[in-house]
């Protein structure tokens, strides 16, 4: 029922416009009071008394820039991202966004909790997203929070909410307790693929930057998001996830994108030498990536020479895989009117700003004029 809102009838054609801008990374945020109020009594009491297990990312790597958010994004009460009216005004209306994909990060660390609490948190987040956001604005689309460390519960949550067509993907942390390619998580990926839902990995999670010891600064943490994505994607490819689940689609969110070219080259070179270790991989890693992986622009990479952006876009095969994102309301917000690299062709702009996201998320290509 819900999806029909966006399907135009013939008589409406004249009032339609092409979808020109899709923002694939918007962060609405729950207030702590909202969160506790919505939890079942048992878990509300638990959280009030004992708190949550995962140390907050802002405590691990304090954001020394405007508290991590756009300085003008504070509503009269609460935190940036908590107020629909302000988000609508500053983001959706201001930038004429046709569709905005909401990624609630409040459940990204909840895999640390015991499974029933993790599941309760994800339910709260998903229901809140529907009631407070998706029901208020037909431009908004949601991502399903799932208790990823307990795949059976995660699949149950997908089953509970996926019938609402406004949920367009599953949301997972870029770093969980096991590597992204671990067969432990395959049931969740299968449940997503069976429903045609992409799996989005957003930077963050409770195990980031562990490999060679943890860096000291937010600068490294933030500039290293793409490195985590490289490791995540390496795991998905090398453990045979894409070979095992041919319909799986992946979105890598807020890790940048231009690192992809070099990763493809090194995985291909490695596979040529070592393919006997993983006979399940019967194609070049870059071919799996080409078929299964989408990425977003946030934060937009800015080489001194804009020509380099265009070159890597081509080298990485990103032209029809790269999706625009603002990352509202975070401090490094990218504006669709000023952050795009110079020199993109009209067709490249169209794909980047809307076309690629329309394809991945199955969004309508036309909407009613507002």
């Amino acid at each position: 029922m819900i999806t029909e809102v966006d399907v135009p009838s013939a008589s409406e054609e004249g009032r339609l416009k092409d979808v020109a801008l899709v923002d694939v990374d918007i962060h609405p945020r729950m207030t702590p009071a909202d969160f506790v109020r919505r939890l079942p009594e048992r878990w509300a009491r638990h959280v009030e008394r004992y708190g949550l297990r995962a140390p907050a990312i802002r405590d691990r790597y304090p954001r020394p820039r405007n508290k991590g958010v756009r300085a003008d994004a504070w509503p009269e009460t609460g935190f940036p991202g908590t107020d629909y009216g302000l988000l609508r005004k500053q983001l959706l209306d201001e930038h004429k966004i046709d569709f905005g994909i909401m990624l609630v990060l409040d459940a990204l660390d909840s895999g640390y909790e015991r499974p029933p609490l993790d599941a309760a948190i994800c339910q709260v987040v998903n229901d809140w997203l529907v009631e407070e956001w998706l029901d208020r604005d037909d431009r908004l689309r949601g991502s399903i929070a799932v208790p990823i460390e307990n795949p059976a519960l995660a699949v149950a949550e997908i089953e509970r909410v996926a019938a609402d067509g406004r949920f367009v993907q599953i949301l997972l942390p870029a770093s969980a307790q096991e590597s992204a390619g671990s067969p432990k998580y395959w049931p969740v990926y299968r449940a997503a693929a069976e429903r045609g839902l992409p799996v989005a990995f957003h930077t963050g999670g409770y195990n980031d930057h562990g490999g060679t010891g943890r860096p000291s600064f937010y600068l490294e943490e933030h500039a290293g998001y793409g490195v985590i994505m490289q490791t995540l994607l390496t795991s998905l490819v090398c453990e045979g996830t894409f070979a095992e689940i041919p319909d799986l689609k992946i979105a890598l969110v807020e890790g940048g994108a231009l690192w992809l070219a070099a990763l493809k080259w090194r995985l291909d070179d490695a596979w040529r030498q070592l393919r006997d270790e993983m006979p399940e991989l019967d194609r070049l890693p870059s071919e799996y990536i080409r078929e299964h992986v989408w990425l977003d622009t946030q934060p937009m990479e800015e080489p001194d020479n804009p020509k380099h952006f265009l070159q890597v876009l081509e080298q990485a095969g990103l032209e029809d895989r790269l999706m625009f994102a603002t990352d509202y309301p975070h401090w490094d917000f990218d504006s669709p009117s000023s952050s795009l690299p110079r020199g993109l062709s009209r067709e490249q702009r169209g794909k980047l700003l809307a076309g690629n996201a329309i394809e991945l998320y199955g969004l309508p290509s036309k909407v009613a004029r507002r």
Binding site: S179, G211, P215, S216, E220, W259, R266, E301, E302, V312
Partner: protein, 343 residues
Amino acid sequence: MTAMTLTAAVDCDLHVAPSSLGTVLPYLDEYWRSYIEDSTVGLSHPGYPLGAATTGGTPPSSYDELAPVLNAANPHRAILTCLALDGVHRNPYYAAAMARAVNDWVREEFLVRDERLRAGIAVSPLDIPAAVQEVERLADDGRFAQILLPVRGDVPYGNRLYHPLYAVAQEHGFPIALHAWGRGGKAPSMTGVTATYLEDYSSNAQIAQVQMMSLVAEGVFTRFPQLKVVFMECGFSWLPPQLWRFDKDWKGVWREVPWVKERPSDYVRRHMRFTTEPAQLPQDPHQIAQVVEMVGPELLMYASDYPHQHGDGFERLLAALSDEDAESVLRGTAAAFYGDLIA
């Protein structure tokens, strides 16, 4: 690539390794010899499984095994790399003793026999004061050209923990060489041991990016303005996009790291170099030329990486370089980078 061009080359990474612990036992004292015997500890190279095509066989374990390799390519200089420390043990005192033994073995078995040879001073990141002592012990030998650390550590290399080592490196003009692998059992990132070697092998590049950022962000080059760092066997084609992102983020949150006075990429281009194996590049020569221009050929130094086999990337790289750039990559950049250490 012809033998002619390599004759003048500086090979920055040529592997040797003891074939067994027995080879280095004579360089260990009685306590460590009995420790090895009682604990049945052996040599372990988790990064180089012998059956993997990338490993390419066992490295030379004696000068007699090395000589034919050296004579075939006949480089002007070859810097030996011995990674015998890359075990999975956690004993810092054992690591320090092994470092001494390995360095003495490399000197006695190889360096004293051939003027073309130099070597990295192997040290363990598990005991930095011992590493400092080891560098001081060998600094005046004249045949050691760099300080060799595994790129995978327990704490990122910008951390103050390591600064005493950088002080002694700067004092003697030794570059810090961060070589692929090391600290066996250290996963490339995040979540523990990887499920496949393919993944582990591919991931030294991620670790190198983390270390590159750590060294800059912690102000190592502000504190040690003469210090040089070379990433070995970690690739280089990942560098440009990571620098774009690093520079952009620094503009946003520079107040967190006030000692970083210039753009991160300025430090990287001034202080860091990268060896040419593995050269992970596109197939299209036109795109290879683009990558070379973005990376900057002046950052690359030739390494045979014998006996490891990473594919034909280096040949494709060389084909894309101008004669002048090829000369720099094969010799000139290393000659300037190591200076008197390889003169």
